[in-house]
Symmetry: C2
Subunit: 355 residues, 2 copies
């Protein structure tokens, strides 16, 4: 029997609650599809930081490297200054584990409410491949004459051929495997960011030559946001840099029904990948059993898909679709018509029984 | 009688067609409200560049400085490599004339179709104040080992205390004058762009102290995009940097009904300002008399408001509202149910007669 070793980081706020339901669903899947998962729990997050003063222990990365994947709840604590945990845990792990792809499916499930008029599941079905280790996220920059009227603050976007190329290549491979519209759209700002996106553009069209079966397209980031709202059906796979990716994936989460359902993978195809619901720790709902666990469940589904347990992943996807179309009144915390636990139970039941 | 000297740059593609209707409406306003406009026409744009090899003549900026305002159609020519005209004319003029504010009202007029479900004119009514001379638009950066596997491309966002402060101050003043929700939201990415947005954040809260009557708020750029789609009614005045401003204003244009109606001002409060429809030159519609001139007409309206011809500006606004709610079938080129000229005629008629 296949056995996977999964590092679980429940994290802050409602993270532990949604991860609990995610694990419940993963357990249902492993029973039905005959593989095993060994979970190891890590207490990284705000509480630990407040107690120990340490964001991550020194050996965290070495430890995590030993797992088949990482399953993350949420990072962000109301008593910790914004930025410290996000940078110290989430971004740190993405970089240290070289998870160079942030993969964000934007899919509207039947029965889910989108804020867009006249758009249905057949219109909203694409994937964003976001570069996850470079660009403005490099943390490069500096400040001169801080606090004076002459202050200058510089933030640098650093892009390497290697980083850009592996990301673009992943996007083309993904479009091929996805086998839907077979199109990759580069989202950039070639007319203004002439250094960074010149590299992106050249690399994009060079790599594209190796994929004659895949159509290419280009859109400025500002236009991309417009089309996502107006014509989301134009997209299949969008590839973009870290900062633009951050922006368009949140917009994508919104059009697919919001944070209640949006999940993402931080992928290192040659290393350890990390899967997370993208909604944040939602501290005000903590402990109330009202938060929507579907995003965490979908993150678990992405994780199984990534581990090539494709049947199990498909079963979770079907179960989630069943729950949102047949049961939930809304995807918002407190408005689902079911508690967090009940939603987890429902999905687990459908995974076990099949739908 | 007051007399204004306006520099008109019709530009490329459908620019001349929409500017023609804009001027028609401005003429109607000047007759009714008793002021005079002297237009001087400039042929800057793609055709001139293709003929002369020169993007802008050397003395362009000195010449334009002599006018009360600049009225711009659109820049962008299908036979010119993207970037050349945008950088050489539009961005160049913004910088050279120190038009440090890009002002973008996002207002849904009654009768206009928004792609957002359940949102009406009472929900979509805010203004984006975009910094217009710094940030990633500085053009700073470079490339190392170009064309090799080791290539590194760097793009820098440069932010100065002076540039940030004058922009933020403008936003607070604007919220006060606007006198609606009296709220300014800083849109940034403080948790990742720790150099640039540290300066922005500090300056924001310092300036805010001088405006105790104005509420402050902060949203990350990714969250801003989500709220614009989900809860646009939360916003009153949003202030942000050049790149994020570019992105959120296009998203804003879309939720207010699209490029057919979206106008912007490039403002130098102590110098010469430039007003433009933000939709681009739409070359494929050129010469067909089908493009929607309302965005250009609204740019003219912003220009008059800026010149403090407030009654005339209000009359144009009312006329536009009348035309979109009573006449047009759609705001899209070719689908309006009227030609470009007819739309201009209608607005001009309502401006003359009043509504
Ligand atoms: C929490 C934050 C640092 C993070 C990011 O900006 O990448 C988040 O917005 C995301 O998209 O995963
Ligand atoms: C044409 C382009 C350079 C410009 C910009 O990026 O500022 C446009 O998108 C805008 O928003 O006015």
């Amino acid at each position: 029997m296949k056995q996977y070793k999964i590092a679980v980081i429940p994290g802050d706020g409602t993270g532990p609650e949604v991860v609990r339901e995610g694990v419940k669903v993963l357990d249902a899947a492993k029973e039905r599809f005959g593989f095993d998962i060994e979970y190891t729990w890590f207490d990284y997050g705000g509480d630990r930081y407040l107690k120990t003063g340490e964001v991550l222990p020194e050996n965290a990365v070495d430890k995590l490297k030993k797992y088949d994947a990482i399953y993350l709840g949420a990072i962000g604590h109301p008593d910790v200054k914004p930025g410290i945990l996000e940078k110290g845990i989430l971004l740190y792990l993405r970089f240290a584990l070289d998870q160079y792809i942030n993969l964000r499916p934007v899919v509207l499930y039947p029965g889910v409410d989108t804020p867009l008029k006249d758009k249905g599941p057949e219109d909203i079905d694409f994937v964003v491949v976001r570069e996850n280790t470079e660009g403005l996220y490099a943390g490069a920059g500096g400040v001169l004459k801080k606090g004076t009227p002459d202050e200058v603050a510089i933030q640098e976007s650093i892009n390497t051929r290697k980083g850009v190329e592996r990301c673009i290549r992943f996007a083309f491979e993904y479009a091929r495997r996805r086998n839907k519209k077979k199109k990759v759209t580069l989202c950039g700002k070639t007319n203004v960011l002439t250094y960074a996106f010149d590299l992106w553009e050249r690399t994009f069209y060079e790599v594209a030559k190796e994929y004659p079966d895949i159509e290419t397209d280009y859109a400025h980031v500002d236009a991309t946001c417009m089309w996502m709202v107006k014509n989301p059906e134009w997209f299949d796979v969008i590839v973009t840099d870290n900062m633009f990716g951050d922006i368009i994936t949140d917009l994508g989460a919104m059009i697919q029904g919001g944070m209640g359902i949006a999940a993402g993978g931080n992928i290192n195809p040659e290393g350890v990948s990390m899967f997370e619901p993208i909604g944040g720790s939602a501290p005000k709902y903590t402990g109330k059993n009202v938060i929507n666990p579907l995003a965490a469940i979908c993150a678990g589904q992405m994780m199984l898909d990534y581990l090539e347990e494709r049947e199990a992943a498909a079963a979770i996807e079907n179960a989630v679709k069943e729950v949102v179309s047949k049961h939930l009144k809304s995807l918002s915390a407190g408005k689902m018509g079911y508690s967090t636990t009940e939603v987890g139970d429902l999905v687990a039941k459908y995974v076990k029984e099949g739908v």
